[in-house]
C-alpha cells in the first residue's frame, strides 16, 4: 500500500520537468509567431515598394524620391557594398545553455553593443548582427544567457556585418583601448574575435516595428 502511494504521487522532479517543458513550449510558440510576423513585415514592405515603383512610372516622382531617401535613412532598404565582418564566438568549452551569464567564456550582449557602437563611430553606412538590421533604436540585450537583437533571439557565432570604409573600421577595431574587456578575454582565449574584410556585404532591411505614436512634428 505504501509503495502504491509512493509510485502514484508525482515527484518534485516531474513537476519541474513539466514546468520546464511548458515554458519551452510557450517560448517556442512566441518565437514561431515572431518569425512569421517578421517575414510578413518584410514581404509587405517589398510589396509596398513594388506598388510605389508602379506609381512612380505614372509620374509622381518628387514625393517618391523623398520617401526613398527616408527609407534609406531608416534602414528600410537593402544595402550591398564593401565592408567587413566581425565574428565573435564563445569559448569552445563554454556551454551557453545552463551556463552562468557571468561566465567569461561567453560573448556578452555588451560585447556586441560595443562592436556595433564602434562601427557606428567609424561612420558605417549599414550594420547587421546575425542578419538583424541595426537601426538607431535597435536594442541589443540579454535574457539569461540568451542574446536578443531587436528583441529577437540570436545564437553564436555572432556576426556583425558592416558596410563602410574598411580601412577606418579596421583601424577602430584594432585599437585595443576601444574594446579593452573583449581584447583581454580574447588574449586569455576565453572568447574569440575574427575580423574579415569583404568585397561584398549584404545588409537586409529592418524587419521590426517602428514606434512613433508619442512623436509629433513641429509644423
Amino acid at each position: 500500500m505504501s509503495w502504491q502511494f509512493a509510485s502514484d504521487a508525482p515527484s518534485d522532479s516531474n513537476f519541474l520537468a513539466d514546468e520546464i517543458s511548458a515554458r519551452e513550449n510557450l517560448i517556442k510558440g512566441f518565437l514561431d509567431e515572431q518569425t512569421y510576423l517578421q517575414s510578413r513585415i518584410v514581404f509587405l514592405r517589398k510589396e509596398i515598394e513594388r506598388e510605389q515603383d508602379l506609381i512612380k512610372s505614372q509620374g509622381t516622382e518628387s514625393s517618391l524620391t523623398e520617401l526613398e531617401k527616408l527609407k534609406r535613412i531608416l534602414g528600410l532598404s537593402e544595402i550591398t557594398g564593401k565592408g567587413l565582418e566581425v565574428t565573435l564566438n564563445d569559448s569552445p568549452i563554454a556551454v551557453r545553455q545552463g551556463e552562468d551569464i557571468s561566465s567569461k567564456g561567453l560573448i556578452q550582449a555588451a560585447d556586441i553593443r560595443d562592436v556595433v557602437n564602434l562601427m557606428n563611430a567609424a561612420s558605417a553606412d549599414a550594420i547587421s548582427v546575425n542578419g538583424q538590421r541595426i537601426i538607431a533604436s535597435s536594442p541589443i540585450s540579454s535574457v539569461g544567457t540568451t542574446i536578443l537583437v531587436n528583441n529577437s533571439y540570436i545564437s553564436p557565432p555572432f556576426v556583425v556585418s558592416a558596410i563602410g570604409d574598411p580601412e577606418i573600421m579596421i583601424q577602430r577595431l584594432s585599437n585595443r583601448a576601444a574594446l579593452p574587456e573583449l581584447y583581454k578575454r580574447v588574449q586569455e582565449s576565453k572568447v574569440s574575435m575574427k575580423v574579415s574584410l569583404r568585397e561584398w556585404v549584404r545588409i537586409p532591411i529592418y524587419n521590426g516595428d517602428l514606434k512613433y505614436n508619442y512623436i509629433n512634428l513641429v509644423e
Binding site: L44, S137, S142, Y212, Y214
Partner: protein, 205 residues
C-alpha cells in the same frame, strides 16, 4: 622577532589580500555586470510585447498597401508614409511627452551606450544626449584619450542630459528597478549624481 613587528606584518598581509580582492571585484564590474540578470517571466513578457508591436506594424503596413492599390488613395498613402518616417528619421524637429534624466560626474562611453540601449529596449521613441538626437545618421559614441565622450563629432561633458520622448512611467519604472541599469551604473560609477523630471513636452531638433 618583536611581536609588534609581527602584528604589523600580519595587518599588512591582510590589507594586501583585501586590496587584491577589491580590485578583482571592480574588474568584474566591467563587461560582465553591464547586462542585468533577467528571469523567465521577463523573457516571456519581452516576447509577448515584441509580437504585439510586430502585429501592429503588420496591420499598419497592410492598411498602407491597401490604400496604395486603390486608385484615389495612393497619393495619400505615400504622404502618410512620408510623415510617419519623417517623425523618426531625425530630418525634422519633433516634440512629445517624456522626461529628461541628468547625470552629473564622470561617465564612461560604454555606460552611456548601455543606458541608451536600455531606453530603446523599454520603449523610448526618440532620444537626445546634450541636445544631439540619436538617429540612424548619428555617428556613434567614442572615447577620447583623456576619457571625454565624443558623439557625432562633438565632445560631451558633464552634466549629461538625456531627453526621452515616450511612455515615461514604463521607461522610468524599468530603468529604476532593483538590479536595473541605474543601479548597475551607480555601483560602477561612484560619485555620479542622477536626477530626472517628467515633462509634458520634450522638444528635439
Amino acid at each position: 622577532m618583536d611581536p609588534r613587528k609581527i602584528y604589523i606584518l600580519v595587518v599588512a598581509i591582510l590589507l594586501g589580500i583585501f586590496v587584491v580582492a577589491q580590485n578583482k571585484s571592480f574588474n568584474k564590474l566591467d563587461v560582465l555586470s553591464r547586462d542585468g540578470k533577467s528571469n523567465v517571466f521577463q523573457e516571456i513578457q519581452i516576447l509577448k510585447e515584441k509580437n504585439l508591436s510586430l502585429k501592429s506594424e503588420m496591420d499598419d503596413l497592410e492598411a498602407n498597401l491597401k490604400l496604395l492599390t486603390s486608385q484615389g488613395d495612393a497619393l495619400k498613402a505615400i504622404d502618410d508614409e512620408i510623415k510617419r518616417y519623417t517623425k523618426i528619421s531625425g530630418q525634422s524637429p519633433i516634440f512629445g511627452p517624456g522626461f529628461y534624466i541628468k547625470f552629473e560626474g564622470k561617465i564612461t562611453t560604454p555606460w552611456l551606450v548601455d543606458f541608451i540601449n536600455e531606453l530603446w529596449s523599454t520603449g523610448a521613441q526618440a532620444v537626445a544626449v546634450n541636445g544631439i538626437r540619436i538617429t540612424n545618421e548619428t555617428v556613434g559614441f567614442d572615447s577620447l584619450p583623456q576619457g571625454q565622450v565624443l558623439l557625432n563629432g562633438s565632445i560631451l561633458s558633464s552634466p549629461f542630459v538625456i531627453e526621452v520622448i515616450g511612455e515615461s512611467s514604463t521607461i522610468l519604472g524599468n530603468i529604476e528597478v532593483g538590479g536595473g541599469i541605474l543601479q548597475r551604473m551607480k555601483a560602477a560609477l561612484p560619485g555620479m549624481k542622477v536626477s530626472y523630471e517628467r515633462k509634458d513636452i520634450i522638444q528635439m531638433q
